[in-house]
């Protein structure tokens, strides 16, 4: 091999080491761009997800919605939408309505419910006072003798990152 040939081979090797490094980064960037695009395409705003979950608090008889007995109809309990039965607005009923995993429940949505005028407050079991956004629903509150108009404020905590080991 002539001297020129040796020099050429050496130069090309250095070039390909650098080119290989740059090309690997470019290919990885391409893969990341596609992944990011897919994530953005399929993401749903947290307000929508949290809002749909929160609907149960005021509309489901399994949560706090007021219902009266209706013995002559096929469904024995007639539920009234957008209502809160104060007798059911308790931590025990909240555990029946929405209970997250005790160890990893911070990864789910968690809520704090507050009745503005009545002042009653309830939290889900992994709510750590880190609200990301707040929902407001006008509700009729059954206090035992009649309905009273109030505002239900729902502070929503989105999934939190895993706590770091000390």
């Amino acid at each position: 091999m002539t001297e020129e040939g040796i020099f050429d081979v050496g130069r090309k090797i250095i070039y390909w080491i650098m080119a290989g490094f740059v090309l690997s980064i470019l290919l990885l960037s391409l893969i990341l761009i596609f992944s990011n695009y897919k994530s953005r395409l399929t993401s749903v705003p947290a307000e929508i997800k949290g809002g749909f979950i929160a609907l149960r608090f005021i509309n489901s008889p399994a949560c706090f919605a007021y219902g009266d007995e209706n013995p002559n109809e096929p469904n024995p309990i007639r539920t009234y939408l957008s209502t809160i039965d104060l007798r059911k607005f308790t931590p025990q009923q909240m555990s029946k309505c929405y209970l997250t995993d005790k160890d990893k429940g911070y990864r789910n949505f968690n809520f704090k419910l507050t009745l503005r005028n009545f002042g009653n407050e309830l939290k889900t079991n992994n709510y750590f006072n880190i609200p990301h956004f707040t929902l407001e629903f006008p509700v009729l509150v059954w206090s035992g003798s009649g309905f009273v108009l109030d505002q239900l404020l729902i502070e929503v905590q989105e999934n939190l990152p895993s706590p770091k080991e000390p």
Partner: protein, 138 residues
């Protein structure tokens, strides 16, 4: 014995290697792009998100309900597990690309049902039981 290689011979071998490397890089880039364009992960993710939100709304709806999912799911399978919605292609236990969305149920509620390759999928709420089935023909 010394092997003498002139500069022209060296260049031909190097050019061949360079061409091979370029062809390989272009092939990988095209494969990644084509795979991203044709894979079903986006459809699965959107279906799983939508069905989980539909289950949450059904929980918030008193009485019995039947609701149809508007997209065609004939290429996918849907399973309602005890605390999640899964959309997958093969077996949800082994399919690494299955998309799972957790759902927190109130006491007394249950999820059930598996639907495979149905174009019209319906969620049916019967008292406290929510199931997934092919939509009834009306």
């Amino acid at each position: 014995m010394k092997i003498r290689m002139n500069k022209k011979g060296t260049n031909i071998i190097l050019v061949m290697f360079e061409l091979m490397a370029v062809v390989m890089v272009v092939y990988i880039a095209i494969e990644v792009g084509a795979k991203a364009a044709t894979e079903k992960s986006i459809v699965k993710t959107m279906a799983s998100n939508d069905l989980a939100m539909m289950v949450n709304v059904l929980i918030a709806t008193p009485g019995d309900v039947i609701v149809q999912y508007p997209r065609d799911l004939s290429e996918l399978k849907v399973a309602l597990l005890p605390s999640s919605v899964v959309v997958y292609e093969e077996d949800f236990r082994t399919d690494a690309s299955a998309v799972q969305n957790p759902v927190i149920l109130p006491d007394g509620y249950a999820l059930s049902g598996i639907v495979e390759h149905e174009s019209k999928v319906c969620l049916i709420k019967d008292k406290h039981f929510i199931s997934v089935e092919g939509c009834p023909i009306i």
